[in-house]
Structure formats: C-alpha cells, structure tokens
Symmetry: C2
Subunit: 325 residues, 2 copies
Amino acid sequence: MSTIKDVAKYCGYSVATVSRVINDDPIVKAETREKVLLAIRALKYRPNLVAKNLRTQKSNSILVMIPTIANPYYAEVLRGIEQGVKETEMNPIIGTVEFDPKHMDHFLELLDSNQADGVIFISSSITSDRLTEVAKKHPAVMCNEYFDPMPVSYVSINNEDAAYEAACELANAGCKQIAYFSGVRDSSSSLDRSRGVKRAEEECESVAVSIIRGEDDLHSLKNKIRRILEENPEIDGLIMNSDVNGSVAIRALVEMDLVPGKDVRIISFDGTIISEITTPMLSCVKQPLFDLGYKAVWLLEKQMKEENAPIERLILSHEVTIRET
Amino acid sequence: MSTIKDVAKYCGYSVATVSRVINDDPIVKAETREKVLLAIRALKYRPNLVAKNLRTQKSNSILVMIPTIANPYYAEVLRGIEQGVKETEMNPIIGTVEFDPKHMDHFLELLDSNQADGVIFISSSITSDRLTEVAKKHPAVMCNEYFDPMPVSYVSINNEDAAYEAACELANAGCKQIAYFSGVRDSSSSLDRSRGVKRAEEECESVAVSIIRGEDDLHSLKNKIRRILEENPEIDGLIMNSDVNGSVAIRALVEMDLVPGKDVRIISFDGTIISEITTPMLSCVKQPLFDLGYKAVWLLEKQMKEENAPIERLILSHEVTIRET
DNA sequence: CTGAAAGCGCTTACAG
DNA sequence: CTGAAAGCGCTTACAG
C-alpha cells in the first residue's frame, strides 16, 4: 500500500499539500490539486484512516448497543441507524448484549479505548446506573426506551397513546374484555403501555382491561395465554407486546379451536415482517422503526458536535394497522 | 484520558516497560509489573487501540458482508461470527449490502484503508469477479455460498444432499409430485439444491419433481404458488428455499382452502425462528447457522495468520426436522 | 531486565 | 499558496 509520503514524492509536493488535497482544503491552487490527484490515482493511494483517527483523536465510529440481533425489530432499527451513520461518514460498531453484562462491558470498553466516539442504546440494552456512568464521559442517546429523569436524549414513540389506541380499536370492534400481555421487565415502554390500556378502560365504560406479565420463552408464553383464556373465556381481545408474541397468541388460539380475528381479536406491537407472514396476518401497532434508528443517530450527532448540547426528547408517530386479526 | 506516558511518569518506569506490561511480556520483573499495574489502576488507564493499531499495522477488525440484516437467517449466522470474533479479541464490522453495489464498495474500502484486516462474505453478498479482485489483496472467506473453482476458503452445508433428503422425506410421507421453489438468483446453493431434488426424482421412481424459480417479494411469490397449484392440482409436496417463503406457502394453501401438512406438505430451508412461529409449524432443513458463522471466522483467522495458508472447504451437517407441515 | 529512540501515517499551527 | 516540523499514543529492535 502506498502512503501519503509516496504520493508526495511522486508529484513533487509536500505531504502537507497532499493532505490538504485529500481533505478538500480550498486553499490549494487548482493546478496543484490536479497534479496531486493524478498522483493519487496513479499510485492507487488510499488514506490510512487509522493514522488519521489517531492524529485527529476521533474514531469515526459510533457504538450501537442492542439486546440481540436475532429479532427483526432490532434489525429494522439498525437499518435506520446505518442510513444515518452513512450520511455522516461514520461507521457503526454493533454491540449485541445478549442479556449478558459481560458483553456490555466488552463493548463499552471501545468508548474508553478511543475506538468509538459515542453510543446509542437501543431498547433496554443498559441499566439506569450504568447509563449514568457512561453518559458522564461520552455522548450517548437512547432509542425506544428512556429513563426519567436523566439528562440523556432519546427518541421513541408515545407508547401510552399507542396502547390506548390499540385498546380503543379493539373496543370499537366490539371487544368487551381485553388482556394486555406486557413485557417481562419493567421497561419504560412496558409501563407506558400499561398506563395506556388502563386509560382506555377508564374512558370507554364498555370495556374491561387486565394486564398480564409475559414470559421469556415462546412455549411458556403460549401456555400462559391458554391458561388465562381458559380461566377467563370472556376475554375477546388480546394486545401483545411484540409481533413474535402475537404469533404465539395465534397459535394458542388455534390450539383451542378459536379463530383469531373472530373469536378473539389480536393487536400486536411493532409491525415487523413477522406480522406479515403469519396466517392470519396480525393487526398491529406499527412503529417507525427505521426512523427511530435514523433519528437516534441524528440526536447523537448533536451531542457529539457540542460539548453541552441540550437534551432532546423526540416522539415519532405510530400507526394502528388493522389486518386480519 | 491518561496515556501510556502518564502511567510511566506515575510509576517511574519508561513507556517501553509499561507497554511490555500491557502486552503481558513475560520478560518484565514481577515486582515491576506490580508497580506498573498499580499505576494503571490508579490512573484508570486504557490503552488507545487506535495508536496500537497504527503502530502494529493491524486494525483488529474484520469486515462481515451480509446481503441484509433484516432476516433472522443472517442474524443467526452473525451471532456465530460474533462469538468467533470475540474469542480472538477482534471486532466485527458489519456491512449490509442491501443489494446495492455502492454499499459494497463503501465497505470494501475499509480493507484498503486499513480499517479491517480481512473479510467474510455471507451468502451471495458479492459477485465472483469482485471477490477475485478482493481476495488477491486481502484474506477472505465465504460463508454459505462458494464459487468454483476459486482459491477462497468457504464453509457451507451440503445443499445438494439436504435438498435430496428433503425430497425423499416428502416421498416417504407419500408425496407423488413435488415442486421445489428455488431462489431468484443462480447462487451455488440454489443450483446445488436443484441438483439434489433432481437426484431424488431419479432415485425414487414414485415421485416427480419440478423446479420453479421463486419471486423476490412475498406477494408475487404467493400468487405464483397459487397459480402453480391451481394449474397442477396433483402437486402434494412443496420445498421452499427459505422459512419466510415457507410461511408464504402456508398462506397460499390456506387461501385455497388446502390444509398445510395434510393436503400439501411443506419443507422449508433454514430452520430459523420463523419456522417455529408459523401455525402450523414448518417442517424444515435446519442449517447450523451459528456454527457456519463461527467456522467462517475460524477459516478467516487461518488465512490471516499465514500469507499462503491452504484453501479449505468446510461442510457442516444439516438436519431435516419434521414438524407440522 | 529496562530505557532511549525511531517510526507507524497522518494533520495542522506556524513560517515564509 | 506551500513546506518543514511537531506530535497523536503506541511498539519494538537495539543497547546496556
């Protein structure tokens, strides 16, 4: 590989001038630029970004922490992040936590060892304490979750409204008794959604809502749904906190000889591809996943540009999509 | 952030000695090591890996090219890659091509600009010509696909055998007329699978097999399946080249009032989570996705260690899992 | 066993 | 408008 020195020698200018050409410094004479460019092409020169990063004390990378990659939900958010990052010529380093704090520490090291300039935490990929610690030293933003009150920018949908609307939608379709299966952990989104379904219960007197804690694995969840449904045959509406869990609800119903969308309606959160490949297709609360990721990068950039940039809270709009359940 | 110089000053040794301690050089006296370690802890020193990388002329990162992240199939392979990479203390840089050559070039630049030391191409994330070019300059391996003959290591399952077994499985279950829906592009796996189903047709005289080219989007595929099934009502077995496409087959059957797994059997490739969340659950050819990724890293490491390491072709074993279709 | 010094490939104030 | 030189934070042959 040729270096900047080789280029300088080849075209007869100094490395300083070559550097200026590479960095589009308008101060260099047009004629000089041409000659340097010619040399660069002739030698197939590529700047060594490691050297540049060392010199400029930036890594040009941001860390993206996600709970797990094995979920189309996060994949879609990542696509938005990649788009955002690309526009700023940075590289994303994807850290999949897989619910293991050791993994998290491993990735957060990258911030301290100058391999990443900032970090985006997607969903519940970090604890409140740990975030406080990290955010003190490095630019950080949250995506899809938040800790209140904490001086960290975030982007999310309004989960309370979304859950409220989902419950109203079911009520309008004639449901009298709705069960909301929440997440397993008390995340902000989970709590907000609970608040939303409760508000729906208060506002429309025709409907009753119960909140049920979910299960981590699909099989336990399916059994739990069946049990709840057997014990409460009056339940005719289900709100599931993810599309995968929505698919589990379909299965539970089918096993009980109930028809999803007829005997029991289902609305699931997220609107990933999962909600489109089930039969029947899941009605869902569509989150703007791509945009959530994209905006997270945008927020992070602001934090990285200014030392004391103001904290921002961004709420994107969702959409309740009624399909076949 | 403190640097190696600060540490040296703090403990009274030279930066050279501190460097040796950091790198576990056994030559330093135990007593010295202790004192240096104390200083490192006192100053919360973290080595700047960018500097180290520049000095040692390695990036400590490998590039992982995938067609798209929005697919549980690739997500699972990535998990294996992450595991492998972690064990070698490298970082993966994930490049999602999204079927856009511009994206690919963007990521391949990382190799030339010293930000990555080697590259793994997952599935059909590159063309044969481009790979030849890249492999000349950088360590490279392929995962799940291959180009023959080409001096590049790869890891894959035996797709021909897998498709053969899937077809035999359907034949044993009583199917007389099988349709194999292949991929849209002529990848090695697609071709090998076609060969496999043809071999099954030759060997068991009781069954006929037709090969049908798939469609890129789900809706077109569903319509195509319906059309084929309407024109050929004797078809009683379907082999789909992905779980997502398997789910589309389920939907097509249900819309035609056919019962998946009874009127028409389905075996889909891959065995991702998708195959577990459909109702009925898809029978499938389970690929060792995690191991495929893990072994790809292992192969790449060998290529990176030695300039002229021999080319290896690794075939991992698959498994036909019969569930409800 | 330890240290002084060169050097990895860049950028950037400073001088001219 | 261009160049000489310092320096980013490390590693490593070499000398002692």
